[in-house]
């Protein structure tokens, strides 16, 4: 009887996923490369600002966002070294995360998710997860005032070990949506 009830429950919600399990699954990924399209929807803009480029990750802590259009910009977060490079403006700025805690924690939301590092996420965000293994959603709400000043929430969704979409609700009222096309390996 008890056995049957347990079986019943697992049949009723066969693939319901929680944050721990999701992170364990994602932690199995060594590296990932994806093309992305990021769109900023803002009342200040005549039309949404669209950027395209390549997003890559390599275990344990390298995240690179290379914007190829409309201008050539690279952002690399490795360890706690944050480098922002602008080929079009011929400028390069390397800083430590400590000098830019707000941006850093926002980028960390992507890197830590990609790395399956729940502890790193929980340092900056209240973490919630729902959906199934094949269609999951991670909802991050900032804990630190430094980030809360800028960001209301970050929603990352994906399927299996692939990250597919990042949506950031900014405190300014702007919304940025990043669609990610991960190359299957």
């Amino acid at each position: 009887m008890l056995l049957a009830a347990t079986a019943m429950r697992s049949v009723a919600a066969p693939q319901e996923i929680d944050a721990q399990e999701l992170m364990r699954m994602l932690a199995g990924v060594e590296s990932a490369t994806a093309s992305f399209v990021e769109t900023r929807y803002s009342p200040l803009l005549k039309s949404p600002l669209v950027t395209r480029g390549v997003l890559s990750y390599r275990r344990p802590d390298l995240l690179e966002k290379h914007v190829e259009f409309p201008s050539d910009e690279r952002m690399v977060l490795e360890g706690d070294r944050l480098t922002m490079e602008s080929a079009s403006a011929n400028r390069r700025l390397t800083t430590r995360v400590g000098a830019a805690p707000d941006i850093a924690s926002l980028i960390e939301s992507v890197r830590a998710t990609r790395a399956g590092d729940l502890a790193a996420l929980e340092r900056y965000f209240k973490v919630g997860a729902d959906g199934t293994r094949d269609n999951w959603r991670l909802l991050l709400t900032p804990l630190t005032p430094a980030l809360g000043k800028y960001v209301r929430s970050v929603e990352i969704s994906g399927s299996g070990v692939r990250m597919q979409r990042i949506e950031v609700q900014e405190a300014s009222g702007d919304r940025t949506v990043t669609e990610i096309e991960e190359q299957p390996r």
């Binding site: 990021e38 900023r40 803002s42 009342p43 200040l44 803009l45 005549k46 039309s47 600002l49 950027t51 966002k65 914007v67 409309p70 201008s71 910009e73 952002m75 360890g79 706690d80 070294r81 922002m84 602008s86 079009s88 403006a89 700025l93 390397t94 800083t95 430590r96 995360v97 400590g98 000098a99 830019a100 805690p101 707000d102 941006i103 850093a104 924690s105 926002l106 980028i107 502890a119 340092r123 900056y124 630190t144 005032p145 430094a146 000043k149 800028y150 960001v151 950031v168 900014e170 405190a171 300014s172 702007d174 940025t176």
Partner: protein
Amino acid sequence: MTRGARIIIVLWLVTLAACGVSLYRNLSVTTDLTAFLPPSVTPNQRILLGQLRDGAASRLVLIGLEGAPGDVLARTSTELARRLTASGLFAYVDNGATAAGRPEEALLFEHRYLLSPAVVPERFSTEGLKAALAETYRLLGSSAGVLVRATLPSDPTGEMRQVLARLAPGTGPDTKHGVWFSRDGRRALLVAQTRAPAFDADAQRRAVKTIDDAYDAVRPGASRLLLSGPGVFASRIRDTVESEATRLTALGVALVLAILYAAYRSIALLGASLLPVATGLVVGVAAVAFGFDKVHGITLGFGVTLIGEAIDYPSYLLIQARPGEPLADALARIGPTLNLAILTTVFGALAMALSSFEGLAQFGVLTIAGVAAAGVTTRWVLPALLRTRPASPRPPDTQVLLNRAEGAARHLKWAAAALTVAALGLIAWKHGQLWDDDLSSLTPVSESAKQLDRSLREAIGAPSLRYLLVARGTSREAALQGSESAAAWLPDAVRKGWLVGFDVPSNYLPSEKTQEFRRAALPERAVLASRLDTALADTQFRAGSFTPFLDAVDRTRSGPLIDVRTYEGTALGLKINSLLFRSEDEWSALATLNGVNAPAELAREASAHGQALIDLKEESNKLVNAYKNQALAYVALGLACIAGLLVAALRSATLALKVIAPVLAAVALDVAVLVLLGKRLSLFNLVALLLVVGVGLNYALFFARRHADEGERARTLLSLAVCAGTTLSAFGSLALSRTPVLHEIGFTVALGAALSLVLAAAFAARPERRPPPV
């Protein structure tokens, strides 16, 4: 008790009570080192003292946490920062996580158009606006987009970025787990700035204790707390010195009491023999408190040393008196010699009391008042209290031993003379390396503590304590313009690797000239609005979104310029006040430098631009040197006074020379031994040598005294042995200390006292052939 005796005792008690009440009411002790130092002569020394007192750099406490996993250290760091901020003792506490959202940031944002170096008239032309907007649009699409967006309506040209770029040179520590960590990730880092000035040793100690307590309260298991900074050094040194001094003084006092008891075999006599020195201390300190605004802690600390010889006065009197003999009779015999013993010390300190250096003057006044009071107590109060020496068991029969020792010492006469000549030769040969002018040797910091300070300072990027760049001017405005000129060439020096970073007050408080130039670059609202509309047509930004920008420019155009009051009550305000100040009729704007690698190049470049690089270490050495030279001059003057007094009192230059010669020889030998041990003399040694002169003269005077019979001579010898024994015990105990200050004083006095005794015995003329003294 006779009526006279009663009057004397009442007078004595009234004096003590008056001094006690006056001390209770007026005693105000300061630990401000700079009050003790001479009134500085050069502008650089004024800056040095100002920085030592309450410079921003000297208020910094550098904090490291290590010995636990990173996430544990990070949590400890956060909790520690929270508790320290809550304590209210710190102007700010920073562990990397608190960097954003300081109240200063709002102020800087509000005044961005006066602070941004990019504000020039062209910036607000249609073309200039178009270019700035294009740059902003580009950044909006970058990873920093969210930050750009937050201030976009009020700062579309990105002036705040320009302001922050100069303030955050990106040389801060690494961040892990959200807080600062050292490069190797093993040490979490914090920095705190005390509200209290650096010289306020008690407040610094409270701040250090607050950090220790906060850490203990959150201590996660096995981690360690590392602290550094000038305030930490000072309070740690004070703790060690005080605990060692207490321990060793207790030992010294126990030995002294044992010796005195062995000599008197009477508790009453033992008690009586302590009265003069106690009276001397109370009267001496009261005199200093009366004569000066504040009594310096150092005066109190070393005052005990200076009045130390007063413990000998009752020994000379009480041992000289035969059991049952009225003290007045004994006084009749040794009175003139005792008078001279007291007066020589008073005369020796006269010159010092008149010094313009407050520290020296306090020493002088304390010595004169203390020794005179102790002398008066010995001469009049003790006889009134005791009348006769109580009959007590005979002291141990040391007469034969002492006689032999004295005889042996006389054989040493020529050897002692030869050694003295050799010592003088050594001192003359080494005179260039005799003195240690390094201010830091006065408060020595261990090598491991120095190393910790270096590594924390480098990791946190805290400013150097040694180098400063100063821009001077006849007004605040002129100094700030100099500061701006320095800020213009220093980035180039950073690129060349001469230094790692710098901070100038003109970054937060530009000169009025610069502020006015920037304000004049801002167009009036209607003009700006129309140019902005034209510019926006060519961009992706929607028109009408930038009213907050127009408002902000308008506010700046019609608002006041930034001045010191703008930052009142913030950490920036504190920083500006310590970097920009007036002394006499000159203004100075300082730049703090960190990671200085090429001081010579920096000094050259600075003077080429009309500023100057100050090496605080060099300045402090010059200062100590000047102090020492002054002190030496007063000591020489004091010796001359003593010589004059002796010639007048003994009515014979030869006799005076015979009294002074062994003392000077003892001082020379003492110094020679210190030199041979590889030591350099500091002001502490000088104070110690003054005491050697004081006790040495007493020995020589009593040796030179004429004795009526063998018994009296034996009692004199015994009293000298007791005096030397007590001095050796008290200061020999101090010499055991591992704290350099205490060890130096103890060693110098103990050695000098021993040498004085031997040499006084060696040079003393044979009693039979001596002409009678006064």
